[in-house]
Symmetry: C2
Subunit: 419 residues, 2 copies
Amino acid sequence: MTLKAMGKAARDAAYELAVAPTRQKNLALLAMADELEINEQEILAANAEDIAAARAAGLSEAMLDRLLLNPSRLAGMAADVRKVVSLDDPVGSELDSRVLENGLRLSRRRVPIGVIGVIYEARPNVTIDIAALCLKTGNASILRGGRETFHSNMALVKVIQRALAKAGLPAASVQYIERPDRELVSELLRLDEYVDMIIPRGGANLHKLCKEQSTIPVIIGGFGVSHLFVDVSADLRRAVDVIDNAKVQRPSACNALDTLLVHEAIADEFLPALVARMNSRQVALVAEERAFSLLQAAGASELRLAGADDFDTEWLSLTLGVKLVSDVDAALAHLRQHNACHSDAILTNDLANAERFINGAGSAAVYVNASTRFTDGGQFGLGAEVAVSTQKLHARGPMGLEELTSYKWIGQADYLSRS
Amino acid sequence: MTLKAMGKAARDAAYELAVAPTRQKNLALLAMADELEINEQEILAANAEDIAAARAAGLSEAMLDRLLLNPSRLAGMAADVRKVVSLDDPVGSELDSRVLENGLRLSRRRVPIGVIGVIYEARPNVTIDIAALCLKTGNASILRGGRETFHSNMALVKVIQRALAKAGLPAASVQYIERPDRELVSELLRLDEYVDMIIPRGGANLHKLCKEQSTIPVIIGGFGVSHLFVDVSADLRRAVDVIDNAKVQRPSACNALDTLLVHEAIADEFLPALVARMNSRQVALVAEERAFSLLQAAGASELRLAGADDFDTEWLSLTLGVKLVSDVDAALAHLRQHNACHSDAILTNDLANAERFINGAGSAAVYVNASTRFTDGGQFGLGAEVAVSTQKLHARGPMGLEELTSYKWIGQADYLSRS
């Protein structure tokens, strides 16, 4: 099938999905969860092929781990799908409704976006994840996974197709681009006649490609340098705990701390306590000159002087940038120069500085006396997360089910003309 | 100044605007309205230059009328700016706020989008309009008007600059791309380092250009074929009035009716009444075969058989497509094949068909027993309108001040770490 034919089929399926009752969509999701369990052996066998090929191709252990499915991960995927069943269906709810002076009853009703194209790499659970979230919100999806997980994805798509058939929903509700040709990605990005939104889930290069080539609105997200500013009035003892959490709990996450900004007036007192904790956590420090001297004197075990790009780096590892700043404005100036668009925090007891930081930081999520690690759909109570948007249009930060919907205006009256 | 330098200056201005109090922004708007009146002579003289050049270049009278400023239009512009002053400032309001189980107080606060690029043609009032709406919402704007209104726009930009200075806001809050080079538009569309959103206000070609070249999110809007379906249970006498309003009140508007779909069971009875009214309004009818015969028999004074593209045409004039359909599903099928994405209506007394039409139509605005002409920010009570979006991301239908904002997540706690 050509990509254009897939787009047309998805569009037709989207019309059906848009009016499918929640009960029917949930039926498909429950069937999907069941099928994941029923077909465990088949899925794991397909995954073993991918793993063998990846190992032969010399992929890193970290990469292999991302590709790997096992009974417990598969059970987790089924549980996640059942979780989506339990979430409220946003489609059909009305955002507001009022009667205008002229008698027109005007409301806005949530509707599916339509057809969503998702391009992703590695982790095969994304296939099930996205299919489930799109289905719940009445969107048709066209998926394009990485070639490393091709066999796993084929097995998962079979599971999805069985579930759709069981629930009586069109097969084209979830389609997968099987052919590996790279041009198909470019073609998908220009299929604006049929596709309403593109979600890229992958590295910076994929996002760049989508931004540059897509004629379809793209949700950009996931990247950004995360900062934490320790103000002069912060509780320094507890500050170390929050920094520890932000940096160490899951260094590979996009909400992990990258750069620590310390008010210069408390640097002498604070940095030794920081060094003690970071040494115990095997965190390497990368510091600008003034911070470097103090950290060195405090006995930092892994320490180097920061180079030109270090404060623009999302570490995704146990490395932490450290810099002294003169006040909250200097901290904000640093944020602006260094791509702060994801999660940033201030530790302070000063109400005015807290408000200044909240309003001045350009980040999707801003924290006062809390860890940057909270930026997450699950933590925010959204139940599920499609992506973390760092753009300002449509949705910002963690995107849940509602962010997979649009709305339409509805005007009802008694044969009313505009005067 | 290079476009990149303009982008950087806009970004810096946006930081200031984001925290500017409403009072200061309103001060600038009031000054802008005053300056429009104070500098009436200068603005009209500049406009006269544009008109003379346009006339020499042989532009149509309709086009000349779009370019023209006169004392009453200028007064209208000033009044519109004062209207924006009276609207609530959406920036800073919180969408929701709650305390999570772990003690994190989580809220979403409305913030400006940042820097907005606007590309537009003809009408010089757009310069003031957009500058005012962006300013009110704390967004910096970079404007690129058409060459036909260059002198008018230069005079208006002076007015805006004086107003910004009076209110103590940065000059780069509103910037205008003066050089006429076409490449600058392409360059603006790729200035994603500094610009957060592109609003094209112009013809289909401009929208296409933006969609294809922009690496910045674009708001697509304004176009779409508008339909009205007369169901079998409609009140036929009053139906003629609503159709008259939708087609005739302002044929050049994007919410004017393009295609009339008539239930075949009532065609014999209804079409003669329609013909009588349309004849009296000098509306030309373009009909598919079955409708053609009936309309001809009823004595339609201007009538031709529809060709292949006629039902894909936004007429923007006193022409109306007419087609018979077998039921509401056939009407919806026609909508889907013919780019119904703007405003569509059903006239019916059947509750099930009304709901079916509401949910099945893919339009930004759907009406039951009301004219398509209501799709308008002013009519919807938004107070002002930046554009009418026909895309599904971010905003749909008429966009007011709120649609010029984004939001940020704010988490506040007492030194809270993620568990």
